[in-house]
Amino acid sequence: MTDQAYNFAYLDEATKRMIRRALLKGLAIPGYQVPFASREMPMPYGWGTGGVQVTAACLTPEDTLKVIDQGADDTTNAVSIRKFFERTAQVQTSETTAEATVIQTRHRIPEVALTEGQILVYQVPIPEPLRFLEPRESETRRMHALEEYGLMHVKLYEDIARHGAIATSYAYPVKVEGRYVMDPSPIPKFDNPKLGGNAAIQLFGAGREQRIYALPPYTDVVSLDFEDHPFDPSKADHACDLCGSEVSYLDEVITDDKGSRIFVCSDTSYCTTRQDEGHTGRLSPEGEAA
């Protein structure tokens, strides 16, 4: 079967319409998980099928698509998803955050602030923030309906009682517009402050779990915390060794078997742009030692 045998962006128009309806409902009720009839995609569940379906439903031929995984454009799965849309939708792709109109991401929000008109699509493994407290879907849906979030606060409190801090470092739960508790997908909690008041549309797709949810632009999003234990969006206490940024989220890379390690931006587009602009870090060729 040739690629021409598939519709634009792979999914047929009826399926896209079904997904768009779920997206609109999600945007109308920010943070609410909308069930949708997720399709089998030609990549496995758990590898971004939800995000791919949402992206397919949003793409138009004029769009420019960027795909990142762990912040990077060249991780294998990001490459594979980008190729999929190059093949089935022939859209333009870009690695530059500002150039993209649709950005599909796994586990990160780009460092550069997004703008109006951009869509950020998240791949979501487990959309239910209460899942690990209550395994039953029928029960968690009831809890959301009744705004019964005591269990989540008890969990966070127990963390503090036991460890002195909230022991959740990614997929850190948030409350949306004072109503729904939402899982922001497994982004590091460092990225949580970028969820709220964001100019872009944020869409979340969970393929295997058949759920879509959304944050319209400039939505109020608050990371759960306590007055005496305020939310702390921590990151590694270093600067990027390649571009010198002190405000970006860093990956730790082990460079030999003697415990040497370096820290580099997880957002590769951000890092290379800074390097091109002349910013230097500890390991830059002509850079001064930090």
């Binding site: 060249d74 022991a167 990956d251 390991l283």
Partner: protein
């Protein structure tokens, strides 16, 4: 100078070339044709059709070839293909009592109208490796005779006439379609049966087995197991009547379950039902046991907390394509999450160490 690993695209292309080469194996050995797989690996083909929810022996055989014999991978190929197919309608329900039978047995009655037909079965074979097959021994052709015209009504229906069997009720409602609507709980019986019919054979088997060993026991007997081909008919609006558009092979199992009555139901025999595409006895028997276990609520039985009674547990975990995807995704990069975990553990350790120092000082 450190340079972040690049070249994911080249690595992927090379990996796929290698895979294609490995799939072919030693080129001095003749290549398998799709027709050979279809004819000689028929039960694997059947499993791929059943769990892939697509009745097409040629495509299932192709998927097995492409997947190097990994049946779950083959099911995945079929499912991904199936979602791209347009739907032009639904068939009328197949009449399994008018099936052209190749096998039909009952464990509850020694004989029944239509008789018992053993058919092509592994039952009663001695599981001894047949080394003749290794030495290219051609199988002798079986004796053939003209098939009798058999009228074989469903056996459980005969019990029904005495009022001993839980009655079946006809309904006009269109059953929900698992592949077009999200699975939502509570799931009614048609939806449960749909999920089980495409569920992983191993999972459904183990669930059924657990009920036999006491986790939600339902005392099942195979009332009837039948395999054969059924005509598939479709109403054509322009014609105003149904026409046959093809035939498919099906395996159907109905179990009889002892039932001593509950608050809402009198003592009677109850049913479990399994229907699977292709020849798939193990799966259809398993399916009917799990179906029966999941019916505890409508029959007013107690929930003893057995896994097989828990519809959410069974239905959300029986699909091997969902399961394998999510399981295997943990090999994808998780640098970012792991990094944040590293920060957290370091912070907690630092605080614990500080607290100890402070305690010692005091």
């Amino acid at each position: 100078m450190y340079v972040a690993t690049k070249g994911g695209e080249r690595a992927i292309d090379a990996a796929h070339q290698w895979l294609a080469d490995e799939r072919r194996g030693d080129r001095s050995v003749p290549e398998l044709s799709v027709a050979q797989i279809r004819e000689q690996m028929a039960l694997a083909v059947n499993r791929v059709m059943a769990e892939g929810s697509l009745y097409d022996p040629d495509l299932a055989a192709l998927a097995i070839k492409q997947a190097r014999g990994d049946l779950i991978e083959a099911v995945f190929l079929i499912r991904a293909y199936r979602t791209t197919l347009p739907r032009f309608g639904a068939s009328v329900p197949v009449e399994t009592d008018r099936m052209d039978i190749i096998r039909r047995i009952s464990a509850t009655f020694k004989d029944a109208p239509g008789g018992q037909i053993l058919g092509p079965t592994f039952d009663y074979t001695h599981r001894l490796l047949d080394f003749k097959l290794m030495a290219d021994g051609e199988a002798p052709e079986a004796l053939r005779k003209e098939a009798d015209a058999v009228v074989a009504p469903h056996i459980l229906q005969l019990l029904d006439q005495d009022g001993l069997m839980e009655p079946l009720t006809d309904g006009d409602e269109t059953p929900p379609d698992l592949t077009r609507e999200p699975l939502e709980m509570p799931a009614d019986r048609p939806l449960r049966l749909q999920a089980l019919a495409r569920g992983d054979e191993g999972f459904v088997l183990s669930m059924a087995y657990s009920t036999q060993r006491g986790y939600g026991r339902t005392h099942a007997f195979v009332g009837e197991l039948r395999i054969g081909t059924c005509a598939v008919e479709m109403e054509i609006p322009e014609l105003g009547f149904a026409v046959e558009i093809g035939e498919i092979e099906l395996t159907e199992c109905e179990t009889v379950n002892q039932f001593t009555g509950s608050k809402s139901e009198p003592p009677q025999f109850t049913r479990g039902y399994g229907l699977v595409m292709g020849q798939s006895e193990r799966k259809s028997i398993s399916m009917s046991l799990v179906d029966r276990a999941l019916r505890w609520e409508e029959l007013g039985e107690d929930n003893v907390g057995a896994p097989a009674q828990d519809a959410e547990f069974v239905l959300y975990h029986c699909d091997n394509i969902q399961a394998t995807g999510f399981l295997e995704h943990i090999k994808l990069p998780h640098y970012v999450d792991f990094q944040s975990e590293l920060e957290l553990i370091r912070k907690l350790r630092r605080e614990a160490a500080d607290a100890q120092v402070k305690e010692a000082a005091e």
